[in-house]
Amino acid sequence: MRLEVEITGKTFTSAAGGTHEVLAPVKFALQSGEVGVLIGPSGCGKSTMLRIILGLDRDFAGRVARPPEARIGMVFQEPRLLPWRSVEQNVRLAAPDISDAKLSELFRILELEAHRSHFPGELSLGLARRVALARAFAVEPDLLVLDEPLASLDDALAGRLRDEIATLVASRPIMTLLVTHSLDDAIRLGDRLFFLSPRPARIVQELPITIPRAARSEAEIAAIRTELARRIQAEQDDIHAGRDVS
């Protein structure tokens, strides 16, 4: 299975009538078993790109090819749970075919067993995010999309959830698309990192990480991070140099 994204542009008309370019031409592809990471500054158009990929926004130029039968699991930036349904119902409504055993296993991994019958309003943000993760995994997706799933969580919790995501992604060959501004998350989870420019977003760098996710030691992660920092610095120098010339 393969996701191909080839957006040639996306503009939107503001209430005042002005036209704004949100996305510059963007092109990338993702294979089964790969984790692609989109990294970019806030407001650069990442969410717009996701909406296009998910089919929520059809008003754009270009094309997105994903197998029509591909099941999608999504973790939105806000958990987007149904407040009037219990935790378990929230998961089951998205994944009606899930077996009791699978559901229990998922709840065990994400430590949600005690909260099955709670309503989302009774959960902390961290718990609600875990429910959103459970829901996305429960559908056994072919394409998993994570939009800053770890934002605004404390480091310890974010670290644990990140490990859980890694475990779950490793358990099945799925295409995963992660949006984040945390370089750390990107290096620990990603196979291919796409660095985006400020709005209108385009891919300024594409960086594959060849070491398998499970085999990345702390030292190697640190090395990748240094390398990345150097590249980003160089890129920015280029931009500044370019400006100076013009």
Binding site: R51, L54, G55, L56, R71, I72, G73, M74, F76, E78, R80, L82, P83, W84, R85, Q89, L93, A94, P96, F119, G121, E122, R135, V139
Partner: protein, 245 residues
């Protein structure tokens, strides 16, 4: 307990007022109770009450279902909203009496005319409330349902309907009180039975005890339906909300 106390207070005020005003204009509670018992034992009370309740049920159900459907459509589809809005404003401001009289003229003094007239009076408020509810639907949850490929029926039942429930409850409550009032007018003008008809008779005879006997029994029935049907529905629809302290 507090409700009971409040009811006792109402009775006390009534009784005292009756003593001052005199029995012809305001009969005392026991006098009214006597008429109630007499009417009940003859069966007339239940007959009229039943007729009125049947009309209320039919007209209310009709108006709520059609009104909710139209309101939902107008909330979702801009074109429907544009097309329907002038009609809605007209209906909203049309006096109940006009609708009832016209219905009787056009369709004769029939049951159909009465029920249609009552339903038409309730219809616009149901539409307005449900349109507002539909406009307030959370788009982000719609997107969630669409990304997870929820079938339409499941999404409507679990995503949309719970959001509309408070609006449906509000519309049911205000609608019920509206229908209660209008049904009596419709009966007074063109039906041979029902509480409204009886009140008309009592008015012609200046029979205050009879008038009060019927209207109070009617009010009691309304109260019972409100507590046993409307309030439990509201409570169920809101059970997921964290309770106010």
């Amino acid at each position: 307990m507090l409700r009971l106390l409040s009811f006792a207070l109402f009775l006390a005020i009534w009784w005292i007022a009756a003593l001052f005003v005199g029995g012809a204009k305001l009969p005392s509670p026991p006098a009214v109770l006597e008429v109630m018992i007499a009417e009940a034992s003859s069966g007339a009370l239940f007959l009229h009450l039943g007729a009125t309740l049947a009309r209320v049920t039919l007209a209310f159900t009709l108006a709520m279902s059609i009104g909710s459907a139209i309101g939902y459509l107008m909330g979702r589809v801009k074109l429907a909203d544009r097309l329907g809005d002038p009609w809605l404003i007209l209906l909203l401001n049309l006096p109940a009496l006009v609708v009832i009289v016209l219905a009787y003229i056009w369709a004769g003094l029939t049951e159909t005319a009465a029920i249609a007239a009552i339903a038409i009076n309730k219809l616009p408020t149901a539409i307005v409330t449900l349109r507002e509810g539909t406009r307030a639907l959370d788009r982000s949850l719609d997107e969630m349902a669409s990304v997870f490929a929820m079938p339409r029926r499941r999404a409507f039942r679990h995503v949309v309907l719970p959001q509309l429930a408070p609006y449906i409850a509000a519309s049911a409550r205000s609608g019920l009180s509206l229908v209660w009032k209008i049904v009596l007018v419709a009966e007074l003008l063109g039906r041979p039975n029902g509480v409204g008809f009886e009140i008309g008779v009592a008015f012609q005879l200046f029979d205050t005890p009879r008038l009060l006997a019927y209207s109070l029994t009617f009010a009691a029935v309304v109260l019972v339906i409100e507590t046993l049907v409307v309030q439990p529905f509201e409570a169920r629809a809101n059970r997921w909300r964290p309770r106010a302290a």
